[in-house]
């Protein structure tokens, strides 16, 4: 059973974080935040706090409480999760005069997240859509994985067995994400680390897409050469059960 607090963390720090990627990769989204300079604080009672800021055409999600122009309050993790599902509204506590940003550009960004994370019809046949869908799904999945590994009881059990070090996940000649693991706690970072202790790589974005969408299992991927792992394998062995929990939280 997904824990609603962990789900709220995934929604905030993995799903909403996707906006960082969108404003870099989708021209409509880029336009939506051009010249916007503000920060939204999300405070979930009994759950996480996070701050999404826009500046110089870029977006950044940080955990905790930071300077903000708009403060949104949620009475519970369930309340926040319902907002993400489009079934509830936040309670604005500050920045009422900036609410136009929320009902306008922010809603459009949220719609775009949905558009890219839930492919419909033939969208995936468009190579650019395919790329954004896969990369965004990958970032979302691994940022969620870190939350699950740090906060879900079963995830923490696996997490506690991941040896310390850098676990790099990457697409050959493509994007990279790595987990910094120390004492069973993990932090997810975008990019390529220079000295990973273990590497899980995909030969192509297509292979990554298949794994993330349940069309390729790890054993087949590794056997067929679509995936490759090397380095200190206990890191990957103990990450995999957490990856298996991700769909429960990102449904």
């Amino acid at each position: 059973m997904p824990d609603s607090n962990v789900k709220a963390r995934c929604n905030l720090f993995a799903v909403l974080r996707g906006i960082e990627y969108l404003v870099e990769n989708d021209s409509d989204c880029k336009d939506l935040v051009a010249g916007v300079n503000l920060a939204i604080q999300f405070n979930v009672s009994g759950g996480p706090s996070g701050n999404l800021s826009f500046k110089d055409g870029r977006a950044e999600m940080k955990s905790g409480k930071h300077k903000s122009n708009i403060v949104l309050y949620f009475s519970s993790p369930e309340h926040f999760n319902k907002m993400i599902d489009g079934k509830a509204n936040p309670i604005p506590l500050k920045g009422l005069h900036r609410l136009g940003f929320l009902s306008g550009p922010f809603m459009k960004l949220a719609d775009k997240l949905n558009y890219y994370l839930r492919p419909e019809g033939e969208l995936l046949f468009n190579p650019e859509y395919f790329r954004i869908n896969t990369e965004l799904t990958a970032y979302t999945a691994f940022f969620a994985l870190a939350e699950i590994g740090n906060y879900d009881p079963l995830g923490m059990m696996s997490g506690s067995h991941i040896p310390d070090g850098i676990l790099q996940i990457k697409v050959d000649d493509g994007i990279g994400i790595y987990l910094e693991v120390r004492n069973g706690k993990m932090n997810c970072v975008k990019g390529h680390h220079e000295d990973p202790r273990a590497i899980l790589s995909f030969s192509s974005l297509e292979s990554a897409h298949k794994l993330l969408n349940g069309q390729l299992d790890t054993f087949t991927g590794l056997g067929s050469g679509e995936m490759c792992m090397r380095g200190f394998i206990p890191m990957l062995d103990n990450m995999n059960p957490i990856l298996d929990l991700v769909p429960q939280y990102l449904s």
């Binding site: 056997g223 050469g225 380095g231 103990n238």
Partner: protein, 426 residues
Amino acid sequence: MEETITNKLYTNKKSMEIFQRGLKVLPAGIPGHLGPVQSQFIPTSAYPLYATRAKNSYFWDVDGNRYIDYMCAYGPNVLGYNNELVDNAAMEQFKNGNCMPLPGIAQVELAELLCDTITIADWSFFMKNGGDATGFAKMVAHAATGRDKVVMIEGGYHGVTPWTQSLTHAGITPADVENNLIIKWNDAAAFQRVVDENPGQIAAFISTPYDHRVFADNVLPSDGYWQKIRQICDDNGIVLIIDDVRCGFRLDTAGSAEYFGFKPDLACYCKALANGYNISAVVGRDSLKDAAAKVFYTGSYWSSAAPMAAAIACINELKRIDGAKVMIEKGKKLTSGLVEAAKDAGITLKISGIPSMFFMRITNDDSLMMQQEFCAECAKRGVFFVSHHNHFINCSLTDEDIRDTVEIAAEAFRITAQNNIDRLNR
């Protein structure tokens, strides 16, 4: 042997073709520990995936490549693949009858032989796999004590039945593992603590004779460790189970517990018992014979006679040649050659565990990437090592095999060193 080492690198075209077929019809392509993922074949393309035949210390793959093998099928190859003494004994029994409505005489003969051979054995019970043996031993302990809990060592391996696995593994439920109490290896004080915290509730302490876990240097018992464990078990009515499935007959023919100077109540055997024929066994002390008789535990093939005949031939031969000593000596010779070859290439190779089951690790790099490269280079040249697991020596390994292995390893170390100058300079 007709083949000698060559400079040509092996390729695995046919293996890969067959594997592609396997992937379609078998989960994971090759299920279980022989699959390329579980075997840590990194990269998969450097390794053979299907064998066609084996003899002594060699196996041949479907591409016709010959390997000097240090995995010994993960232990069962103890006298040499297709050892004639063992095969003849098995064939003889196969001809007369194998799986019958009654056991063969071999059942009694094998039990007698084990009782004569293994110090603590007053009786034997036969099954097929190591996991059958550990499961039976645990049931006997529950039956004898009426208690629920079992103390186990973190990182230990006792098979794949749910109670032996971690809750984080696919298919395991909390109820499967709720009676397991996990402590660290070599920590008798921790054992005393869990015993104090669970008074009258612990049925058994189960452990391998030493810590031969995967991915880490293997660790022998510290001085007095086993004697302390024995004492705590005695003081608290706990059954001491030794899982000798992997070490059995490679440390001491009389039992690995004998090697470390203590006496367990039950010992589990499998791998080296019959040189590859499918049989495992639990042996035990008289005091537990009653409980063992009460536990209902059996299987379609467990009483088959041919593997028992094979086991008799295998154990008699191991005793005749003092197999454990032979393998330990060969292991020492091989590992000292490997350490030297590594040193010549500027690499530090650490050997741990008992030489007949040595674990090796390149210590210049904590990511195992150099180790994986080294093993892959060896595989491409006909020496079969794995990067994560202890290796196995068998009695048929020759001085020439050791010499050829060290020569190939030297080249693999040189290549690995060249590719990892940055790591070596760190």
